[in-house]
């Protein structure tokens, strides 16, 4: 026995949410071949097929690429600071992928750790996630290698599992139940559980390499083709580094939080001109270390949902998956003698 909804009814529901004044976001084609999470005009705007997953992630709805923290104004000797107003819009994300929804319990940890980030948490509270389980995956997908699956429930308020003519509806939170109350029917049938991509690695073997292979020369080979852009990190559900900048002039302006990324040379550049991560090998190592050792050790969560966006969006097809495959293929966890100088210049 399961609760189900017809596709048609779901789309009517999306229109009703929009008509009711909610902001509804979901996958939409912004142009041919480019599917991104977008604020939907209506249910027809929602892309239901023709793509594996959107090229970006839902993290932008909680942690936008640019956010003003406070404003400053100076008159004579007087300096006035005002907090940026924060009244998050109520939002429903429909058609999120399980590898996107899963970012929320992961990022909750860091944004509520030694300091509660109101910007993130208030938006989080105002948002309901209606996830659609995947029935298709490509060579870049590896959710099953990081303990998730095409029908993972992690982070979702509602999980919809595709079946003939509609979806099996699994309401996972009160927020989710409120959205679908009275809209579903009971059925004898239930959706089949999709298998997902073949498991490519275990987190334990990667963590073991990362603990022992810090100076392994394989990082140099991996990083050679990396161009040092941040298409991977900015489209990654879980990458969450930011920079603080001041924009304005002596009279007034604001302090803002902008996405930043460990693959940029500037990320670790000191004011002295010294850069502790002076080459791309060190920067690539950092990204993987953060995802599969540092964050898990600190917060008990892997900083990767296996979505594959890094590889798909990389201009030279380098991503977490092929990096981890290169690590496994190099066959040794020990640092080699010829590399006693490590990855430093």
């Amino acid at each position: 026995m399961s609760e189900v909804i017809l596709k048609e009814t779901l789309l009517q529901l999306v229109n009703a949410w929009i008509a009711g004044g909610k902001v509804v976001s979901g996958p939409a084609f912004v142009k041919e071949g480019v599917c991104l999470y977008t604020d939907l005009r209506n249910a027809e705007h929602l892309a239901m097929d023709g793509f594996i997953r959107p090229g970006d992630s839902i993290k932008k709805y909680f942690f936008p690429r640019h956010e003003k923290i406070y404003h400053y104004a100076r008159t004579g000797q007087k300096l006035e600071l005002t907090n940026a107003e924060l009244t998050p819009q109520e939002r429903i994300i429909v058609g999120a992928r399980p590898c996107d929804a899963a970012l929320l319990p992961v990022l909750d940890k860091v944004f509520n750790w030694d300091y509660v980030d109101d910007f993130y948490t208030l938006r989080r509270k105002a948002t309901t996630i209606v996830t659609i389980a995947c029935t298709q995956w490509d060579d870049q997908c590896f959710c099953t290698s990081v303990d998730l699956s095409p029908a993972a429930e992690k982070g979702s308020d509602v999980l919809l599992l595709p079946m003939e003519n509609g979806y099996e509806v699994r309401c996972l939170t009160d927020q989710g139940r409120a959205l679908f109350a009275g809209k579903t029917t009971v059925s004898e049938n239930a959706a089949l559980s999709p298998e997902g991509p073949e498991r490519k690695f275990t987190e334990e073997e990667i963590a073991a390499f990362l603990r022992e292979g810090y100076e392994n020369p394989v990082w140099r080979d991996i990083a050679l083709r990396c161009l040092g852009c941040c298409a991977c990190a900015f489209t990654c559900p879980t990458c969450h580094c930011f920079d603080i900048v001041d924009e304005g002039n002596a009279q007034g302006g604001s302090r803002a939080k902008n996405w930043d990324c460990c693959q940029f040379n500037m990320f670790t550049m000191h004011a002295s001109g010294h850069n502790p991560r002076a080459n791309q090998a060190q920067r690539q190592r950092q990204r993987i270390q953060h995802k599969f050792r540092i964050y898990p050790e600190k917060f008990g969560e892997t900083l990767c949902t296996g979505c594959g966006n890094c590889t798909r969006n990389c201009p030279v097809s380098l991503g977490v998956l092929n990096t981890l495959e290169a690590i496994r293929a190099c066959g040794t966890t020990a640092n080699t003698v010829e590399n006693t100088g490590g990855l430093k210049e």
Partner: protein, 285 residues
């Protein structure tokens, strides 16, 4: 010549170069599986030349690696180029960024990349590389296209407001990942102006204003230099039509400076590096 014959000859040439010790590294293409995008590889042993591929998935303009410290450290290089990539070598040489004598260029006859073919391939007139040390394959050269690009001509017929609205929509999606900058063989500044923060000159924020500032600076800095390899457009995760922006400036160079096209002629003084009292200034208003 069939594509697999070209690939075989290319591998043989690379094998020979490494074995003879003429070069230390081959900058070429590798691929995991047919039909998926090829990616740059750096081959240092003759036996590894088997990993090199040539097919219509070889999009990257490998010239972008020539000015990079980590790649220069590998020693003397041989590079695989298509005709369009080779234009970037011409500009890099004109701008004294590479020593052409210390570089071995393997040109590959190209019938277009992508399936269907990339937009740039429709008007390509450099299917045969022109300055390579060695060219592999033979394809009939197409004629130089007349007039400006049809997409650009159609766009320029729109009103100023329509064009502004279009760019607002496009650039609003920019997330400032700088993939466009990093794949560009001609964006080789040691420190890009957007990374200068003492003081900050260009808003680093990815707001509409900041995005306009960045893309305007980028395209102006490439005016008369961009060779139209369209790598920025391919790299953009937000699908921004950077190609159209680049074409606008390339067309301005062509129209105002006797049909100048970047990377076509090694002998001419580069547009940005020359000055004449007859230079028109009417377009700066």
């Amino acid at each position: 010549m069939a594509i697999n014959e070209i690939q075989e000859q290319m591998r043989q040439a690379c094998h020979r170069l490494l074995e003879e010790g003429k070069v230390n590294v081959i900058i070429g293409y590798g691929q995991n599986k047919p039909g998926t995008p090829a990616f740059p590889v750096f081959i240092r042993k003759p036996e590894d030349t088997e990993k090199l591929v040539w097919n219509d998935q070889c999009f990257s303009n490998l010239a972008a690696y020539l000015t990079r410290k980590d790649i220069k450290a590998l020693g003397t290089a041989a590079i695989i180029v298509k005709g369009c990539d080779e234009k970037a070598l011409v500009v890099l040489e004109q701008e004294s960024q590479i020593g052409r004598n210390a570089l071995y260029v393997i040109g590959i006859a190209c019938e277009g990349v992508g399936n269907p073919s990339a937009a740039k391939c429709a008007r390509c007139d450099v299917r045969m590389p022109r300055f390579a040390d060695e060219t592999i394959g033979q394809v009939p050269e197409s004629t130089t296209p007349e007039g400006s690009d049809p997409e650009l001509s159609a766009f320029l017929k729109k009103t100023l407001e329509e064009r502004r609205d279009y760019w607002m929509q496009e650039l609003n999606r920019c997330i400032k990942c700088y993939a466009c900058r990093e794949v560009c063989p001609l964006c080789y500044c040691n420190r890009c102006i957007v990374d200068k923060n003492r003081p900050t000159t260009i808003d680093t924020s990815s707001t509409l204003k900041g995005n306009f500032a960045w893309q305007t600076v980028r395209v102006f800095h490439l005016a008369g230099r961009c060779v139209g390899c369209d790598e920025c457009t391919r790299a953009c995760p937000a699908g921004i039509n950077l190609r159209l922006l680049n074409l606008t400036l390339a067309e301005a160079a062509r129209e105002n400076f006797d049909g100048y096209r970047a990377g076509m002629n090694k002998e001419v003084v580069p547009l940005i590096g020359s000055y004449s009292q007859q230079d028109k200034e009417t377009f700066i208003q």
